[in-house]
Structures are given as structure tokens and as C-alpha cells.
Symmetry: D2
Subunit: 135 residues, 4 copies
């Protein structure tokens, strides 16, 4: 299971003293970007050759417990069902590593699009052939 | 149906030239805050008397079409099922008013919490007695 | 003097209970974008014809008093010195209108760039000929 | 010189394809928080004992070159003049380490405030006695 760590800073919190609900999506996206990078895939390079970009088209989130300033978060990225131009990730966020408290669970549905036309395109081979192998 | 308008600025967009996927949650929250304000409810006042805050505990989103810089968005806020300390909102986002293109659909599940203990509390009367009436 | 209004939402605040220091720059940019729009200038259109974009190259800020959740901010945008490809704005932020408490003062130095080469370009005529007239 | 590294993600960029001008302030704040953490100082602990918080009251920024998606930034944090309740930091941002391209220079003026009254307070000893020593 791919896990990425990220710290909670002032920018992530709100006046309730906890991480603002939209900002967990930034943590999730960092983990997905690092999952790609760990497989040797740069999104800037993919946009040029083979000319594809990724786009989230659906998202389900359960907020279990709040994260707070200075927390060190562990964010997982587990690829699941894959079909043509679509890929699903299950993602979770814990405080202090994946043995710590579970804070959030998410299902993220991604489409692979042509960088120019924004029409669906098959996933690049590097991702499609075996998304679940350890990068 | 309560609808709030908001403009897309540079801050909302990303290098893909469209609104960043997390930032739609900011637009949704603005509409929910304005729905409350239109009913005469200030969240700062509620936190003091009767001492409650609202917290999103689950969220489902469908991203239908992307919003772009300078778009004028219409964001709806439709209260649905209500039970004890919980309230559900259906929210949609359109470009150029609710006759325009549909960009996003969301179900937002909210809990009412005690401002100090963060334990569930009954919804304030002003919301609970008739969430669906026009504010 | 051009003044734009904007509300403070949860997204703007941090765990200190006040607006996060970076987020005032979003309010300032909204007011500059609306100053342009009030002069009939769309930044998306300018990027195509005559093919220019604006870029902040220097900024001075004085944070006078903090803004809080639910505050209604008034943000001014006053064009000043203009030279070739450069334009300076003085901007201020008040709580509850420009008769209210002063919260922030800023000098924003903007360059006009070619949208493709990102090299300096003369300001578009609609701005250069009389930046200080009321839009 | 204290230097902290941070990656540029989609969340940081705007439709111009570069990092949004307000978001550099988030990178600067991360480096200041890590400078404190490297000295054994937790901001959450400081807010309780001795009951102080830090607040930026002035800021000067020069944007030299734009950062882009996937860039790895190095952000320095160099304490300078110190007087009573005030501390100044010089901060710089480079692409690919402090031997790389300079992207931004900043002077950040910080006040130490009482966490409850928000009135000026002397800097905590751990910072005041020798802000410039390596943490």
C-alpha cells in the first residue's frame, strides 16, 4: 500500500481549530501525485507525451475525526477497479502513521482525458498494465 | 430553492485552466453559509448561543463539467432529510444561473455538534422546524 | 475610488480564528479583477487579443487589524504610477465599508506580459490611457 | 541557514500555469513553522505555555521567477533584527535547492502576541536568546 506523509500547517486549518473540509482533497491529491511520481510518471510529461491528463469525475468522502494544526498525516493511495479510461482509488488519512487514528476515507474516481480535446483516452500503459503493483 | 452566486477568480483555478477540484467545496460552503444567513442565522452567534457548530461528516460529489476563470456560478442549497442532530443538503452548481450548464452535483451530510464538547446536539429550532421553507 | 465587497467564509480563516495572512491576497486580486471587469476588460479575452497577461512582481503589505468569520470586507483598488509595461495599485481593506475599521494596506506592482513569451509588453490602451478614471 | 523543501502540487497553481501569487505565502509559513519545530518549539504548545502566538504585521515580496507544477522548492528562513515583541525574517525561495534559480525574496515582520488578549508580548526565551543560531 502506497502511503505519503504530509504535515498540517496554519493554511490547512479554519476558525473551528481543525482542518477545513475542502483541504483534505489537497492532501489526497498530493498522495495520488506522489503515487504517480513513485512509478516514474510526471504529470507534466504525460500531458505532452502521450498527451493525457487526469480528472476527478466523482468522489465520496467520510470524515471520521478532525485533523489539527501540527498533525503529521499519513495518506494512502490504493488503486482499484480499472476500465478503459477510468481508474478508481481508495484513499485513507490517518494521524501519526497508518497505525494511528483513522481520520478520513475516500473513493476517488478518475478519468484519463486527452490533454487537448479533453475527451476520454485509454490510460497510459505504465498505469494500466498493473496499477496495484508496488511502485 | 435557495441559490447563491459566486464568481470564479484566479485563486480558484489550477494549471489545467479549470477550477481545482477541492475548490468547489468552498463554493458549496459559501452557499450553505448564505442559506443560514438568509434565515437570520449567524454561525458566530450560534457558536455562542445555543453553542452549536456544524460539521460535514460525509460528502458525495459528481463533477459534470469544469468551471473556468471569470465564470459566474449559481450554487443551490436544498435541505433534505433531517434527523435529530443530522441534516442533509443537496447542492448543485451551474454556469450562468440555474438555467445554464450543470457543472456539479453534491450531497452534503452535516452534523450539529456542541461547540465545546464536539458531541452531537439537536439542530437549533430555527433550522429544525422547517428547513425546506424559503428563507 | 473603486471598492469591491467580499464576505469572509470558513475557507478564509485559520485556527487562530482570523483570516489567514495569505488569503488577503485573494481578496486583493478579486478587487483588481473586478476593477478590470468594470472597465469592460475580461482577462480571458485580453490573453487572446491583444495576448497579454498581468503578473505581480512586487508587493508590500501592512496588516493593521485581523478580519474574522462573517465579516463583510470592502477592498479598494486605486491605480497609481504607470510606466510602459508596469502599473502600481494601492489597495486597502476595511471591515463594513470604507468608513469602517482599516484592516490592511497594500502596494501591488504589476507587469504586463506577452501571454506566450511572458516578456514585458505595453499595457493595453484601455488601461494605459487613463487608469485612474472611474470605470 | 535553515532551508525547508516543499513540492508544488496542482493546488498551488493557477490557470496561468504557474504558482498563484498568494500561495507562496503558504510556502514561506511552512518554512517558518519548521524553523520553530527544529528548535523544539511547537506552536500549539506555545499558545498554552507561555500563552503566545505569532502574527505577521508586515510583508515585502519580490517575485523573481514563477514556480511551476512538480517543482521542488527550497525555502529559507533567516531570522534578523529582533526587538522586544518583534522579529524579522528574511526568506527566499529557489527551484531545486539553494544553488538553483531564485524565485522569490521576502521580508516578513512578525509580532509576538498574548494568545488571549492579542496584545504584544516579549518573545519566548527559546527564540529571543539566539534566533540566528542553527536550530
Amino acid at each position: 500500500m502506497f502511503v505519503w506523509q504530509s504535515r498540517v500547517y496554519w493554511e490547512d486549518t479554519d476558525a473551528g481549530g481543525i482542518v477545513y473540509y475542502a483541504n483534505y482533497l489537497r492532501f489526497l491529491e498530493r498522495a495520488r501525485s506522489e503515487w504517480l511520481r513513485a512509478r516514474g510518471v510526471s504529470q507534466r510529461a504525460l500531458a505532452v507525451d502521450p498527451g493525457v491528463v487526469f480528472s476527478v469525475f466523482a468522489l465520496e468522502l467520510q470524515y471520521v475525526r478532525p485533523a489539527r494544526l501540527d498533525d503529521l498525516l499519513a495518506i494512502s493511495c490504493e488503486p482499484g477497479a480499472l476500465a478503459g479510461a477510468r481508474l478508481e482509488f481508495r484513499q485513507r488519512v490517518w494521524r501519526d502513521g497508518e497505525q494511528g487514528e483513522l481520520l478520513l476515507e475516500a473513493s476517488v474516481h478518475i478519468a484519463c482525458l486527452d490533454a487537448l480535446s479533453l475527451k476520454p483516452r485509454r490510460l497510459p500503459v505504465v498505469i494500466a498494465e498493473d496499477p496495484a503493483r508496488s511502485p
